[in-house]
């Protein structure tokens, strides 16, 4: 420690300069691509003319853009869709991942355990483009394998991606399919960290496997489960742009349009940059509160520090 201050203060000052220099590239990148856009969000309060540029002399119109977006008939539905999709994905996803992690942990066949573990998080690393292609193909009402199965069993083909009654479920299930493997690996790692003497003690007390799961494994995982749930809170307004955008179509906007897809269509496709930025700003502000809140809880209750 002495090396760092005291007598060699001068030297350590020079050395600290090196550390500041090291930080510089990252800081510059963040300024240009994170902080400048943060300031650029002021266009939400302007009548924005793209020709004048981001910090040009645009006319200030106060909350006009916000009034406009709330006057749109679909806004309410879009927020509802976002919340339904994200909450279902988080809640069911957590339960599913924990279940699979427990199954993997209880499996005594090492080869099976290893190979299943290997396969299940493969979808996580595949882009939604490829997956959307696959899903569209498998769920197609005319030639999709699933509908062939349904018709073979005497049912009527279901238009999973085009029917508002099924679209949300399709989104939730396909998202679970993509992510459960990855998440269960996280939970499995938490299980692996449980002190094995606890199991021995439980076994001596006569606890069978079920009781051991109930009284040793689950309590041992509870920290990470709660922590992950808290951190997921910050994602409540992210219902999965990549997925929804690649699977939806105008016919299912009613059940599947989310905040992010709305921002995209409004801003990039229709060129209504300022109102779209206003939606983005609202989302960012609510997310800020949620994320800050969740990190605060994680820090105070679970001593989880991200840095």
């Amino acid at each position: 420690m002495e090396v760092w201050n005291g007598k060699e203060g001068k030297k350590s000052g020079k050395k600290n300069l090196q550390l500041h220099v090291m930080m510089l590239p990252t800081i510059l990148f963040l300024i240009v691509f994170s902080y400048v856009p943060m300031v650029g969000i002021i266009i939400a309060f302007q009548k924005f003319n793209p020709a004048k540029g981001l910090f040009g002399k645009n006319k200030w119109i106060g909350l006009e853009n916000f009034r406009y977006i709330f006057s749109l008939p679909n806004t309410r539905q879009v927020v509802v869709n976002t919340l339904i999709l994200s909450v279902s994905k988080i809640v069911i996803g957590t339960l599913l991942a924990i279940t699979v992690a427990l199954l993997l942990n209880e499996c005594r066949n090492r080869i099976l355990k290893k190979s299943v573990q290997t396969i299940i998080y493969f979808p996580y690393f595949i882009s939604w483009i490829i997956l959307a292609g696959m899903i569209g193909d498998m769920l197609s009402p005319s030639s999709g394998i699933l509908n062939q199965l349904i018709t073979a069993l005497g049912g009527k083909p279901i238009y999973f991606l085009g029917d508002n009654r099924y679209f949300r479920t399709t989104l939730i299930v396909s998202d679970l399919w993509k992510t459960f493997g990855y998440n269960s690996v996280i939970y499995l790692a938490a299980i692996t960290g449980i002190d094995s003497s606890l199991y021995e003690a439980a076994a001596i007390d006569g606890a069978g496997r079920w009781k051991q799961i109930l009284y040793v494994t689950l309590p041992g995982m509870s920290m990470i489960i709660i922590l992950m749930s808290v951190l997921n809170m910050g994602n409540i307004l992210n219902a999965g742009f990549d997925q929804v955008y690649n699977l939806y179509s105008p016919g299912v906007y009613e059940s599947g349009d989310i905040i992010d897809t709305m921002v995209y269509r409004m801003g990039i496709e229709q060129g209504q940059l300022a109102p779209s930025a206003a939606v983005g700003l609202l989302k960012s502000v609510v997310s800020l509160l949620l994320i800050a809140g969740s990190y605060y809880i994680a820090d105070k209750k679970f001593d989880y520090k991200i840095f």
Binding site: K15, M23, L54, S287
Partner: protein, 300 residues
């Protein structure tokens, strides 16, 4: 008598354990298949004839085996152009991303010994809390003249805070002595980082490198909004052929009629080729990623 009872009990228990294990095995096999079969199905389609696919004859084995779709893709210039743009993007984006990650993680790992740390931590942390959002970011990229250039897809996402945090927590648990001895020998921070920290951090570096690679390979959205159609990266290009052929906004009847001249096998072949790089890095990804993500999420 007692012994017999005990034995019986043990037998019952092991029998129920056996059933338990059997049930678990079956469930796990089903789970595994659930994740594997859809991909396999696409692979089979890519080797089957269009007629067989349209007729719904392709199941879990190719029907009327052919390699034409692959041969056709290999000759397709737009596919290769898109793949080239993606390769370019990875070739520049990966080293840049790694450089930024490492150079930011190193000073921050010093804790209190680096006086500016708190400021930088907050500076970085705030970007995780608040975003300008899509539109202002798009406008910044536009005003920097980076539309329709590879830079527009590389620079805005060059700093990945989550990956940086993985590196940071790894650096932090390295013994302080490692650095102190080098420091006494007069080595500066760049030297210490390069010749002491990096060599011992291979697992975490491999993890974040693979994450970055996959991230760049899979990105499609920035390609779509920043690039013109003839300069799309691979995933964006794939999107333009896969999703717009999706017919998802047509009625089932229209779909049926159109499916007579669909290009299903070709689509599948391009999807398979687009997945191959992920498949290639997957064994490595797997080797490191469990330790990598648990390090980040549970924090070691």
């Amino acid at each position: 008598m007692k012994k017999a009872e005990e034995q019986e009990l043990r037998f019952v228990q092991s029998a129920s354990q056996k059933t338990g294990q059997a049930v678990i095995s079956i469930l796990l096999v089903l789970t595994g298949m659930l994740c594997f079969v859809p991909f396999w199905y696409i692979v089979c389609q890519s080797f089957s004839s269009n007629e067989a696919i349209s007729a719904g004859k392709v199941g879990l084995l190719p029907v009327e085996f052919q390699l034409d779709s692959y041969l056709y893709v290999l000759k397709r210039a737009p596919f290769w152009k898109a793949a080239w743009i993606t390769v370019l993007r990875v070739a520049v984006g990966l080293p840049l991303g790694m450089f930024l990650m490492v150079t930011a993680a190193y000073p921050l790992s010093k804790g209190k010994r680096f006086p500016g740390r708190d400021f930088y931590v907050w500076f970085i942390f705030f970007t995780m809390l608040f975003h300008g959002g899509l539109i202002p970011t798009y406008l910044v990229v536009r005003e920097l003249g980076m539309l329709n250039t590879v830079w527009g897809m590389i620079l805005p996402c060059a700093v990945n805070v989550f990956n940086m945090l993985l590196v940071l927590s790894f650096f932090r648990q390295l013994p302080v002595e490692l650095e102190e001895s080098a420091s006494l020998d007069g080595a500066g921070h760049w030297r210490i980082l390069w010749s002491i920290f990096l060599p011992v951090s291979k697992p975490v570096l491999a993890t974040v490198a693979l994450f970055t690679l996959v991230q760049h390979w899979n990105s499609w959205f920035d390609g779509m909004i920043y690039m013109k159609a003839d300069r799309y990266p691979l995933q964006t290009y794939l999107r333009s052929i896969i999703i717009s052929f999706n017919f998802s906004n047509l009625t089932p009847l229209e779909q049926m009629q159109l499916s007579n001249f669909n290009e299903n096998a070709l689509k599948s072949a391009q999807m398979v080729i687009g997945t191959i790089p992920i498949l290639l890095v997957y064994p490595f990804l797997q080797r490191y990623f469990v330790s990598g993500i648990t390090l980040g999420s549970v924090k070691g």
